[in-house]
């Protein structure tokens, strides 16, 4: 092994684990208040080391400098450092029970959180987001990626997410395959594929997922895919990407990379083509469409306006980079009382027409077309799913 391997940081809520080569296993713990914390920390470190190398294969000094890390953060940092030092040691796989979700579950918000920042990850499940999307791609510096994927695995194992939890992996050629193998041990609902540009990208990921599912004993096909379209090529191939694989349940738009890629400025007009293209492609494939994130956390009015635009265009949800944005997204993508009333009337009229054997549906003399009925049904389904979710 190299002389010294480090995982973690000295940020609040994290810990820094250093593995240095030695003749036998030794553990050192440093913490603000040893009287309160040292015994608990040692327990976690010892258990993690035992799980990693039952035969005491780790011949090194493991030093933990704690900054208030929760148990799963400690375990993740120890595992990451030890496996970086001894690459032959296999990953820890523990039993995970994930709450089931549905292909068409509400995804009004997908809340991003950087995958290597315990300070932000701790409690990320508490903000009511329909999907939490833990990121291993852009928000994690390359050198931290190995430790980050281990941390994300431990987070997903430790936390019972009330709604969906997804992981944004790196492109397959840039570590994405390693991401998949690691995080599938913790059974996320799905994996987001950044910079998806063709159906081959999606199929390649699907193949990786199937392999990892078999290895981890997860039912094959149970992990969903969210392709993120954020290049000109990706947007133009939206149709083939949306129907590339049955794992795809939602297609997302990434405006920051898209504008850079095509040389556009970020105005509603400049994004209109990409947005409409993605919505049309997703809906044609029978899956959801999710709009790009809104980057200015302090601009509540701007967020509400952009969410309304996305809703008007046909998106089912939108990305957020801060928990404070979640309520505004839910407000924008939840059918209003008025919409619900109308939907109920339309569906009731349709049922009545069917019962009477009448082909045409009418409310107050006004004919109702098939697509209008379908939209009304969709609104009722969403509302039904939301009310069941809230009563949990």
């Amino acid at each position: 092994m190299p002389k010294e391997i480090v995982a973690g940081s000295d940020a609040k809520g994290d810990c820094c684990v250093t593995v240095t080569s030695g003749k036998a296993l030794a553990v050192a713990v440093a913490t603000d208040d040893p009287n309160l914390f040292e015994r608990g920390i040692r327990e976690v470190v010892d258990e993690t080391l035992a799980a990693l190398a039952p035969q005491g294969r780790v011949k090194a000094t493991v030093s933990v400098a704690d900054k208030g890390a929760l148990d799963y953060v400690l375990a993740a940092r120890v595992e990451a450092a030890v496996r970086l030092a001894f690459p032959e040691i296999p990953a820890i796989a523990s039993k995970v029970r994930r709450r089931p979700s549905a292909k068409d579950a509400p995804r009004r918000s997908r809340l991003y959180a950087p995958g290597n920042s315990p300070r932000i990850l701790v409690g990320i499940e508490l903000h009511g987001a329909d999907c939490v999307l833990v990121d291993l791609e852009d928000s994690v510096p390359p050198a931290e990626k190995p430790a980050a994927r281990v941390l994300v695995k431990h987070l997903l194992c430790a936390i019972d997410f009330p709604n969906e939890v997804w992981v944004r992996i790196n492109p397959l050629a840039l570590g994405g395959a390693d991401d998949v193998r690691e995080v599938l041990l913790a059974r996320p609902h799905g994996v987001a594929l950044p910079k998806a540009e063709s159906k081959e990208d999606v199929i390649a990921l699907s193949v990786e997922l199937a392999k990892a599912e078999r290895e981890s004993g997860t039912p094959v096909g149970s992990t969903w895919i969210m392709p993120i379209l954020e290049t000109g090529k990706g947007v133009l191939h939206a149709e083939e990407i949306s129907c590339a694989d049955p794992r795809v349940v939602v297609v997302a738009f990434g405006a920051e990379d898209y504008t850079r890629d095509v040389g556009a400025r970020r105005t509603p007009e400049a994004l209109l083509f990409a947005r409409s293209m993605i919505v049309a492609a997703a809906k044609a494939a029978g899956v959801q469409a999710s709009d790009t994130v809104y980057a200015n956390v302090d601009d509540e009015a701007g967020l509400a306006a952009e969410a309304k635009l996305a809703r008007d265009l046909g998106f089912d949800g939108k990305g957020s980079i801060h928990p404070a944005q979640v309520p505004a997204l839910h407000a924008a993508f939840t059918p209003s009382e008025k919409e619900m009333d109308e939907a109920r009337k339309i569906v009731a009229a349709a049922e009545e027409a069917e019962a009477r054997g009448i082909g045409a549906i009418a409310i107050g003399g006004k004919m109702i077309d098939r697509p209008v009925l379908e939209r009304a049904r969709r609104a009722l389904r969403l509302s039904d799913r939301l009310s069941r979710k809230e009563s949990r």
Partner: protein
């Protein structure tokens, strides 16, 4: 003996005999207060003395006597250190300090304790002095911690006799009228020391600005004041707003603040005339801000808001969201400035605020209050005094007074701080009994005191995440291994008084760990 909360309390603590806490409102008194000093005066007397030493000399301060101070300059206070330094230079020993609160800036008191100049402290010991005492630093007698209202009561009832009160004032006249509102370095109300001025054997006003007669507002009045000393500096107003007064940015804490505000909005008290206590601390500030937004949206005009005055309260007043601010101490420069100019921003003394043995407390008029906690337990008891390792770190402030008075007391606290669980089976020290706590809000949801089924129903109807407190505890406990536990000896470091003068808990010396 055991008090009503099952806490083991000694029969005597130092030289005082102890009456055990029996319930939040169990003890009722009527009768007469302790006598106040009386002294005639004649026209033409000079009260201004050239130095602190001269004033100390003139008061007849002797070894073993009690001196008192207020904390309105908070971290920026310069008077306590100057006075105790002067006492040390004059060879005084064995003094008893009776401050309304101490701060980090008073760390050098530790040296005066070590050298014997100060041997006893009656009062809240924030930060370094508290840490020193609980880590084996010796006082001749255990400290007594009291709430703001409790301190006032202790003076009026004669429980604590003050020999000399030293009162920092940003402005005073040569006859003794003094305030903290005007002058070059205003700190906000100094009425914490009003009762000291009235009951102390001698009262010295320490100011950096002598104004023409009469200096006003008349917070401290000539009839109570023996001497005035002018010094270069009484305090730095810039340091009044210390770190705890910044709005939080942490998503988890903002969620707590949002839930706390939502709880008030869902309660039956959310209507015109709503009165509430805001307070300091990032979460309380954010909760106050969210509540203000909700009031604006619902077009509700609050009756009064009580503080620690802050910028947010002043903004609410200006927007017409509340009719009045009742302000006992200013927490930032905007609140200080507003006190001088806005008649609806009213100065409140701690007696008016919360004197248990009086015919009325302003805190009893509160609908809702946001308060913090270091620890809470399954019985809804709250600890704000000691760290989980047993160290005495904070004073009581107005915690007991507000919780006892408000119709709906909301404790805001994260379920876990770093590796430190906040919800315990039993708090390390009881500051405020669960009897007067209604709701505990964590980032994982709200726990409602079982005696408030009415509130629970309101919260459920509003779709708020109501949880069982044991469930919240279990969830947080699942994230960290159990802590080491301090083993306490018999020696008492400090007594925690309830507002009525009974002892609700004691802080004992840590002797080991298990």
């Amino acid at each position: 003996m055991k008090n009503a909360l099952g806490r083991e309390i000694p029969k005597t603590i130092g030289s005082r005999s102890v009456e055990a806490y029996a319930g939040a409102f169990a003890k009722q008194r009527s009768g007469f207060k302790a006598p106040q000093p009386q002294k005639s005066s004649v026209p033409g007397e000079n009260k201004v003395l050239p130095s602190l030493e001269a004033a100390i000399e003139a008061t007849g301060l002797k070894d073993g006597m009690t001196i008192s101070f207020h904390h309105s300059f908070r971290e920026g206070d310069r008077v306590i250190n100057q006075v105790v330094d002067a006492c040390a230079r004059m060879g005084l020993k064995d003094l008893r300090l009776f401050p309304t609160a101490l701060f980090g800036t008073h760390a050098k008191l530790v040296d005066h304790i070590k050298s014997g100049v100060v041997s006893r402290i009656e009062g809240s010991m924030n930060g370094p002095v508290g840490a020193f005492i609980s880590q084996g630093g010796k006082l001749r007698e255990p400290a007594t911690l009291r709430s703001h209202g409790g301190r006032w009561r202790a003076i009026e009832s004669g429980d604590v006799a003050i020999d000399v009160a030293f009162i920092a004032a940003s402005q005073a006249d040569a006859y003794g009228n003094a305030n903290g509102i005007n002058g070059r370095t205003p700190c906000g109300p100094i009425t914490f020391c009003m009762v000291d001025a009235q009951y102390a054997r001698k009262t010295v006003v320490v100011t950096n600005e002598l104004a023409p007669y009469p200096a006003y507002p008349l917070e401290i009045q000539q009839g109570w004041v023996d001497y005035i000393v002018v010094v270069d500096e009484v305090g730095d107003p810039e340091q009044i707003a210390s770190g705890t007064l910044e709005m939080t940015k942490s998503p988890a804490r903002l969620r707590i603040a949002r839930l706390a505000a939502d709880a008030v909005v869902a309660s039956p008290y959310f209507k015109d005339g709503l009165s509430f206590q805001g307070g300091a601390g990032g979460v309380s500030l954010a909760a106050t801000m969210y509540l203000a937004e909700a009031m604006e949206k619902a077009k509700i005009v609050g009756g009064f808001v009580m503080g620690g005055g802050t910028r947010i309260m002043v903004e609410m007043l200006h927007k017409g969201l509340v009719r009045t601010i009742l302000d006992g101490q200013a927490f930032d420069p905007i609140a200080v400035a507003s006190l001088g100019v806005d008649p609806a921003h009213v100065i409140m003394n701690p007696g008016l605020y919360a004197n248990y043995d009086s015919r009325g407390c302003a805190t009893y008029m509160l609908d809702a209050a946001f308060l913090g906690a270091t620890e809470v337990d399954l019985d809804f008891n709250v600890n704000v005094n000691t760290h989980s390792d047993g160290r005495l770190l904070h004073g009581i402030g107005g915690h007991q007074d507000v919780a006892a008075g408000a119709k709906m007391t909301v404790i805001t606290a994260p379920s876990i701080r770093g590796r430190l669980p906040v919800i315990l089976d039993r708090v390390t020290t009881v500051t405020t009994p669960g009897e007067v706590i209604d709701v505990i809000v964590t980032e994982r949801g709200l726990a409602v005191n079982p005696k408030r089924g009415d509130l629970k129903e309101c919260f459920l109807e509003a779709g708020l995440p109501v949880r069982d407190i044991a469930e919240l505890k279990a969830e947080a406990d699942g994230l960290v291994r159990p802590l080491g536990k301090p083993v306490f000896g018999d020696e008492v470091v400090a007594a925690i008084e309830w507002r009525d003068g009974t002892v609700i808990d004691v802080v004992r010396k840590v002797e080991g760990w298990q």
